[in-house]
Symmetry: C2
Subunit: 319 residues, 2 copies
């Protein structure tokens, strides 16, 4: 449970064993149309088909399954725009702990409903005015509960890395790996294990141009905070990279690439209409990077993490 343990490939491998009762081994999909658009074979790791509809169950269950029984009785708390909330609720329900979730009041309805369906208590806040961290801190103090942070914790990072572990077990000789970047938990966890399994693999993060905090931080060489982003990719709206995740990203990623809102929408439609899978905008940012040639042209095979698939039908119909 310590927040000071180093993030290593071994920690990711331990997570893979720990989360087995809760997380699904998701399929890796390919598509002739994607290969031809990308100009190289692309291997999509389908975390949209993960339990709870996103990769987040990997990190949340890795942390929650590490909490002692006594501590679990005080419950767990998470703040999240949705997928991490639902993941925390599912993992808490699995171990019989009470989950309290602090969510922005404009989070997609489907994500809020799904979180409530898992038995969690939901507290909403105004994303532009309130501090979710402050609200969560108050609840933690009141209940003595354990915080399940969305990304900035070694066990969360290691849990998220199991997505890349599975992908590289199946397709070992990838030239490159690209993941969406919000707070950086997925990217830093995946990069850590991928670089150990295949030291020559090139790591890229993909961000919406409207939520380019990690891109700016990468360029500046230090964590930069941006105003609350308004991207369609609601899962990637964190305004700055994590304290633990960013140094890992700095060390292991080659570049952070940016995609436009139109490119994200087009990627969602491509994945839906050509590959027949529903991927939410946040989850399709990595696919957009590949389909719109944001990565170096010489790559001969690319692994892409599609990080989630939770989207409201009304929103989708509007794309």
């Amino acid at each position: 449970m310590s927040a000071n343990i180093p993030v290593t490939a071994a920690l990711v491998r331990e997570a893979a064993v720990r989360i087995r009762p809760l997380a699904r081994r998701t399929p890796v999909m390919t598509s002739r149309s994607a290969d031809s658009l990308a100009g190289a074979p692309v291997f999509f790791k389908c975390e949209n088909l993960q339990r709870g509809g996103a990769f987040k169950i990997r990190g949340a269950s890795n942390l929650i399954l590490s909490i002692s029984g006594e501590q679990l009785e005080c419950g767990v708390v998470a703040y999240s725009s949705g997928n991490h909330a639902q993941a925390t609720a599912i993992a808490a329900q699995h171990v019989g702990a009470v989950a309290t979730i602090v969510m922005p009041q404009d989070a997609p309805r489907s994500k809020m409903d799904a979180t409530r369906d898992c038995g969690a208590r939901i507290i909403t806040y105004d994303r532009l005015r309130d501090s979710r961290e402050a609200i969560a801190a108050q609840i933690l103090k009141d209940l003595g509960a354990t915080l399940v942070p969305p990304f900035d914790h070694p066990l969360i990072i290691a849990g998220q890395g199991t997505a890349a572990l599975e992908l590289l077990e199946e397709i070992p000789h990838l030239d490159a790996l690209v993941t969406p970047v919000g707070g950086g938990g997925l990217l830093s966890g995946c990069a850590t294990v991928a670089k150990e399994m295949n030291p020559r693999i090139r790591i890229f993060g993909a961000e919406p141009a409207l939520a380019d905090d990690t891109f700016r931080s990468f360029a500046a060489g230090e964590r930069v905070e941006i105003p609350p982003p308004e991207t369609i990719a609601d899962g990637l709206r964190s305004p700055k990279p994590g304290e633990l995740t960013f140094p890992i990203v700095q060390r292991l990623a080659e570049a952070i690439v940016l995609v436009s809102e139109d490119e994200i929408r087009a990627a969602v439609k491509f994945l839906l209409l050509r590959m027949k899978i529903l991927v939410e905008p946040s989850g399709a940012v990595s696919a957009a990077a590949v389909l719109f040639h944001k990565l170096p042209p010489e790559l001969r095979s690319i692994g892409v993490i599609l990080s989630g698939g939770n989207v409201d039908f009304e929103d989708l119909a509007g794309y």
Copy 2:
């Protein structure tokens, strides 16, 4: 190539070997929400993830790969509302033959485009006024080409049956199997091989209530023709069961069940939003039968063929 060979499980097994270069082994998916709605474990065979977006490549490639090289030089002809057209075009392209496709002028645009993308020549007709059989017959006469019928041919039926062969190889002890029914190619092929692999399996066909030709024929004990159906399930609009398929359906199916247009739409949305896969209305009719309890309640495990995933975005957004 003979249209008189009997449809047997052995013919399905031969097809499975023959079509390997062209058809994908599609995944079998499960979902906690589906199980809980259906009241029994459900195993979805995802032919929406098949090459060309539907099971049709199985039958079309089984027949086309059986045509002699000399005969192939005269080309192949198919009439189809879309998925069979695209499948025929893909298989013809694979063997270097010219494909001419006769399509209704109101076929979904996505299906028409995809067929053209595979190098096929398209001839359109008015679904309510013209006879596609007559148009195809004229072309066959002019070109000396080979007809690839949509369902009523032993090699087409046997090819479609490979979907059930794969499903039962993976999940042998199913209580029941349900497939959508248009002309009956998929149902008769699947029933033939499934009953050989597991004689106690119960076979069901699912039809839109607005296109109930097989339901009526099943009740009447003979092939009944209905007026051109207007169901949203555009792939199931054939007005009567096949001459070859119907006796097989009569012998092996326990019942044909009907679903409403609303139930079809709800099934498409469930598969999309909960299971994150895009299934077209025709392909979701079987899922609708399970989700809306049209099958006997005592079934302890159900295999469902999701037969295709080709749908226009504008149509989908309107559901």
